[in-house]
Symmetry: C2
Subunit: 333 residues, 2 copies
């Protein structure tokens, strides 16, 4: 295993320490239990948004904490759900009196632990309304999931709900927006290589030199099928077609196109994949009105990428364009 780490059991804490030292203007980081909040939390009168999940997907979620996006992130152990006490501590830290929205990726452990934390918070008088993201069209059920897995749409929901909360909208409306993003977004990913979990020390799965996995999950869960390596144009079609057909997206739709790297794929390849995706969308009469290209929801050192398409309307575009000021996503004033 070739990694820049010390003790495999300490990777998450040590990386969080580095993260805290790198971004003191934007976040505060707490340990035991681990959670990250925006530097000015709690923001009085604003809906608080919390997300979280296993570590190993950086910059998600801690990299999205800051004005205009998340109020808190709960990083679990690598590929392991955060605990209820960890999530509860984050909810308490960001409650500004207007309620808290947990944005949960659909994995059984995440859903269970976030729900337990939500109940504990509600028992303390904090209003909580949770939204579960389940946008991966690759498989119906998977290794850690009943129903569809939550992937790339989570990043988009965090941005869009974050903008609405920042604008002072009430919990019910911010939660509605989260459900709308989930309803209007579809994703699918593929892997060229496996990732290696530090405390395991060997690749999660074997993938021969001439094969790739289509429909991979972000923890290395099996996808739809193994196929021989193919040119980027064919890979793009294998990802885009199931996405486009599922919603379905229609001629005339405006979309946000998100090409996400899985941690081990360089940016030059992601831009090349975006070029392929633009051609596919143009061919179907779908306008890419906004885009995001880069490593935002990763799977440790896995080489591969995923596509997410979100159908946009004017309101979602305004919320996407609103200022955001986080370690991993920044624009506007």
């Amino acid at each position: 295993m070739k990694k820049l780490i010390n003790d495999p059991e300490q990777v998450v804490d040590e990386a969080l320490r580095g993260f805290a030292a790198a971004h003191p203007d934007l976040v505060r980081v707490f340990f035991a239990p681990n959670y990250v909040v925006r530097a000015d939390a709690p923001v009085s009168g604003k809906v608080g948004i919390v997300s979280g999940g296993g570590s190993g997907h950086e910059p998600m979620h801690a990299g999205f904490v800051g004005p205009g996006m998340l109020d808190a992130a709960c990083p679990g152990a690598i590929f392991t759900s955060p605990t209820p006490d960890q999530i509860l501590a984050a909810i308490q830290a960001i409650d500004g009196g207007a309620g808290v929205l947990p944005l949960i990726k659909n994995y059984a452990g995440d859903v269970l632990n976030f729900e337990m934390a939500a109940e504990l918070a509600q028992a303390e008088g904090i209003e909580v309304e949770a939204v579960v993201i389940a946008d991966d069209v690759a498989v119906q059920d998977s290794l850690y999931t009943a129903g569809r897995r939550g992937v790339g749409a989570t990043v988009l929901a965090e941005k869009i709900c974050g903008a609405a909360a920042q604008a002072g909208r009430p919990l019910a409306e911010v939660a509605d927006l989260g459900r709308r993003v989930n309803a209007e977004a579809r994703s699918m990913g593929m892997a060229l290589t496996s990732c290696t979990v530090p405390h395991v020390g060997r690749p999660t799965f074997d993938l021969p030199e001439n094969e790739m996995e289509i429909g991979i999950g972000i923890h290395g869960e099996p996808g739809r099928r193994r196929v021989p390596l193919a040119p980027a144009a064919e890979i793009a079609a294998m990802l885009a077609e199931p996405i486009l057909g599922d919603l379905p997206f229609r001629r005339g739709d405006r979309v946000l196109a998100f090409v996400d790297g899985l941690g081990g794929t360089p940016l030059i390849e992601l831009y090349l994949m975006f070029d392929e995706l633009t051609k596919i969308c143009a061919g179907q009469g779908i306008a890419i009105a906004r885009n995001l290209v880069g490593n935002y929801m990763t799977s440790l050192d896995m080489a591969g990428c995923s596509f997410t398409l979100l159908r946009l309307d004017d309101e979602l575009i305004r919320l996407w364009d609103a200022p955001v000021h986080t370690p991993a996503l920044r624009w506007g004033r």
Copy 2:
């Protein structure tokens, strides 16, 4: 070779097409010859800054084109210097009457071709003053270089000179700042794995599963030595000590600490390495006043990282903090 590409000969053009489609608000991209300029170029009365070099280091340099940083980037073929005509076209496109500053990484081909382009531009009446960046302490001469190689300080010089040019400062002063960044910055890198150049199709060098290369160049040029894999803390010391001793950095110095990923290393490991670097600097009484952690100057899919330290003063801090609005680096209004 596992890559998201089509024809290996078309990787640069196809990725540039995707880049152009992703950032139409920030850049315009030209082909044959390839160059990228900020969307509003030329900016009348402002010093124009151009950089460039072989492709395969994304987001450098095209990802740094935009207000507050570069006016133009010239992406060559993978790991291949841009041609003089390509650089000349970029200089012509960004000349706003106040002269043009080429920021050149110290590789023989880059220096030669930028100098040739500068002479051609001067013959047309464009004022040109070039600065060569040579900050890598690993080796004195290397595969493509006489003297030290230009690495991480290039990103910092582009930001700092970019801010000065944006503020309307004259060519001589902006060039002085570039030389100051070069004089006050030192870097060193290491690789866990080789990169694979698309049209070669196999790793540039062999690195056994239990070894790493200390002092690697960003094209896979040999470093100082091969050593057994070691914990992150030891790797951080192997990079930081030659840097700190070279300038030398002294107790009481304020620095910008840049932890750069080489394309195949996930962010969680880079933040962990930043944690190690903060401990080393604290132990030497050196204050990290600013930082940058992420994949900014990469080597295709190479796993590894580099450290760059830049000694700061109040002026350099102000210029670093100034607003920047590019695809890869954005902050401020």
